[in-house]
């Protein structure tokens, strides 16, 4: 009785009326989104940890990197000739460097004047910067933006049985876990990381030991922005490249940072991935709540552990 047998297995794979297959697929999709949350919130956490600046320009910097990748691929060859085409892999290195460089410039010229003031001023400045960046790109490129195809190597996909996974999305998961892992290692296990963490605790004392704190701060900001840049380039083949692509993500990412604990790298990564998964699950069981679920959790965390899940009370 092959028919009867199949029915039995189907039943065992159904949970709460949701087929197991689609549950797995949604979890995987959630994980992919979680990777972006993790990368972006990690950058924010690093910047906040050392600079005490809530970097509201993070979303705009993510967007600028995505635009740079797109421009290098489809605009530069039109301007300078086909030999100037910058492919995805080159963009993955160049765009974060350029965006990080712009971040250094921003820190050197504007942000550093605000360290002695309240958090609010840094937030206002970076918010203003993000509005300016979005406005400039909207003016020149409109709002619908442009498409960018994944590199040839990563086109197509694999059939996992429960879903068809586009190769590129699989690559994003691997790449972002690698990036998060390396960053964590850099900050938690190396001497440079130890200095940076010491700088977070007591910059004055560290400077007395001869460490160049201002340089360290500048480079840290550049590094955090560069992480947003990497995420931006990774996002280009998935999302439409448009001036608001970062702003749409940033709200959630801020909630992720708050949940993970401001300034905690591990917290940012873990809660980024976990919230991506949770959002995926919500989309299966009650899609209408998928946009609020992150904020509900944020509220609960703030009420029970105001410093976040991984944050330390000061």
């Amino acid at each position: 009785m092959p028919g009867g047998g199949r029915r039995a297995t189907d039943e065992t794979h159904i949970m709460f009326d949701i087929p197991m297959q689609s549950l797995l697929a949604q979890l995987l999709v959630g994980l992919i989104n979680g990777c972006f949350y993790a990368m972006l919130s990690m950058g924010l956490a690093i910047i906040f940890g050392l600079l005490n600046i809530i970097n509201f320009a993070h979303g705009a910097q993510f967007m600028v990197a995505a635009f740079l990748a797109w421009m290098g691929f489809s605009q530069l060859p039109l301007l300078l000739g086909p030999e100037f085409k910058i492919n995805f892999w080159a963009a993955l290195v160049l765009a974060p460097l350029i965006v990080g460089g712009l971040g250094v410039l921003l820190e050197k010229t504007l942000l550093k004047r605000l360290y002695h003031l309240d958090h609010l001023y840094g937030l206002l400045l970076t918010f203003g910067v993000s509005l300016v960046l979005e406005g400039v790109f909207r003016h020149f490129y409109g709002i619908s933006g442009a498409s960018y195809d994944p590199p040839a190597l990563l086109q197509g996909g694999i059939d996992l049985g429960f879903m068809y996974l586009p190769l590129y999305r699989g690559f994003v998961v691997v790449a972002s876990i690698l990036i998060c892992g390396c960053t964590w290692f850099l900050f938690e296990k190396t001497r440079l990381g130890a200095l940076l963490r010491a700088g977070t605790e007591n910059p004055k004392l560290l400077q007395a030991f001869g460490v160049n704190i201002p340089l360290m701060i500048t480079l840290t900001y550049g590094f955090g922005v560069g992480l947003a840049g990497i995420a931006g380039v990774l996002a280009t083949p998935i999302m439409q490249v448009n001036p608001l692509m970062g702003a749409n993500l940033l709200n959630i990412v801020f909630a992720v940072v708050v949940i993970g604990g401001l300034g905690s790298i591990l917290g940012a990564v873990v809660s980024g991935l976990a919230l991506g998964l949770l959002e995926g699950l919500t989309k299966v069981f009650y899609p209408e709540a998928s946009t609020v679920v992150v904020f509900v959790i944020m509220a609960v965390v703030l009420l029970t552990r105001p410093a976040g899940l991984f944050g330390k009370e000061h």
Binding site: S144, G157, P166, I238, M239, M245, P287, S290
Partner: protein, 400 residues
């Protein structure tokens, strides 16, 4: 001598008549307001292009009507009904604005319609498309100019059901417009013998449609209908391609503007069916007007922008013919006219505020078929207005 007397008489008559006409244009100016999204996700399909379109209509009328200047104002309603209501109230109370047009989000149009009714001004939504405008909340001073969700859905859904695509799954933007599009399309699909097997509602605006698309894929429906607009449609189509969904199922966007196809690219959009109120390359008249628009805006007009041109032009013609800018008289005149211009063909404004006119069923060209930039569609058929526009909703009391 006789001749001289006659001319004096004529001059006096002219002076008199112009005097009486002056008295009937309120505030000595006819003012058009374009209220739309100048910065958000709908700014490419409406935005500055709509302002340009309205300006073109005013220029075509010589910048004057009944001897009084026509002025143009515009503002960004940010797709928020409260912002739209405040702006419109200011325009009506202090700004001397007589007619407001565009509204790329229906909820903003609904908010302004009620205020306009109280202040006796005309509202002509060109990109606010939900049929809610023609329902319970309809007003006698509203003309939904370009098209509506029902007409769009009817065109695309009928064509696909006729091809044997009987089962449908909806991916719907979770606000008035999306709901309206889904409801109207469902009506048409069921009437034509198809069925709807499920739907998912996504937040507006959305970035990632993967989970909704995967659900749609799992439903095994013949057609995945996208009841959303602008960037949401663009992203959903792009991601449907990515997940290989387009190989087995048809993805049918129920509202697609040419700006969307432009940014998706033909390789991903090719073969899709869609309905539009206007396509620039339809005939000589539409081409001539669109090329003028292109020179200013550097993009071809979307149906929404073209609709703003047509709405403004016909509003001004109606003011001219009615001899006044008093809202009720202008609306009565608009209802008397047959609308026929570079954009709208064989149009008749109905009592409930629907402009019933011929629509186009289009198919997106393959990259090989496209000869030039913006050469994106094949016109499959002209859909008669009476066949695609919805019957008058009994809940609408505008005519009574």
């Amino acid at each position: 001598m006789q001749f001289r007397k006659l001319s004096v008489c004529l001059a006096a008559c002219a002076a008199l008549s112009s005097f009486s006409v002056h008295a009937q244009v309120s505030d000595d100016v006819v003012k058009i307001g374009v209220l739309n999204d100048l910065s958000g996700i709908y700014s490419d399909l409406s935005g500055q292009g709509s302002v340009t379109a309205a300006r073109m209509a005013i220029e075509e009328m010589g910048g004057k009507v009944l001897g009084k200047p026509v002025e143009l104002v515009f503002a960004d309603h940010q797709n928020k009904p409260d912002v739209a209501a405040n702006l419109a109230r200011g325009w009506f109370d202090q700004g001397k604005v007589d007619m407001v047009t565009d509204f790329p989000t229906t909820s903003t149009a609904l908010a302004v319609m009620e205020i306009a009714r109280q202040k006796n001004r005309v509202v002509m939504p060109s990109s606010g498309l939900a049929t809610a405008i023609l329902g319970e909340k309809c007003t006698p001073l509203t003309a939904q100019w370009t098209t509506n969700t029902y007409a769009l859905a009817a065109g695309t859904a009928r064509a696909l059901v006729k091809e044997g695509k009987k089962t449908w799954y909806f991916v719907t933007a979770d606000y008035t417009f999306g709901h309206s599009l889904e409801k109207d399309a469902t009506e048409v699909i069921k009437a034509d013998g198809g069925s709807v097997v499920g739907s998912s509602r996504h937040p507006f605006p959305g970035n990632d449609f993967s989970s909704f698309l995967l659900k749609a894929q799992a439903s095994k429906a013949d057609v995945i209908a996208l009841a959303n607009a602008g960037n949401d449609t663009v992203n959903a189509i792009k991601q449907a391609n990515e997940y290989g969904i387009t190989r087995k199922q048809v993805v049918a966007p129920l509202l697609t503007y040419i700006s969307d196809v432009h940014s998706i690219g033909l390789d991903k959009a090719q073969g899709m069916y869609l309905s539009e109120a206007f396509y620039w390359d339809y005939d000589d008249r539409s081409r001539a007007w669109s090329r003028k628009f292109f020179e200013i805006q550097k993009r071809m007009p979307t149906a929404a922008q073209a609709g703003v041109y047509s709405a403004t032009l016909n509003y001004l013609k109606a003011v001219q013919a009615a001899g006044t800018d008093e809202a009720k008289a202008v609306m009565a005149q608009l209802r008397k006219m047959t609308i026929d211009d570079a954009v709208i063909r064989k149009g008749k404004l109905r009592e409930d505020g629907a402009l019933v006119h011929d629509m186009l069923l289009l198919q997106v060209k393959t990259p090989a078929e496209s000869k030039a930039p913006w050469d994106y569609y094949k016109v499959k058929s002209v859909l008669k207005g009476a066949d695609v526009f919805p019957p008058i909703n009994p809940a609408c009391q505008a005519g009574k």
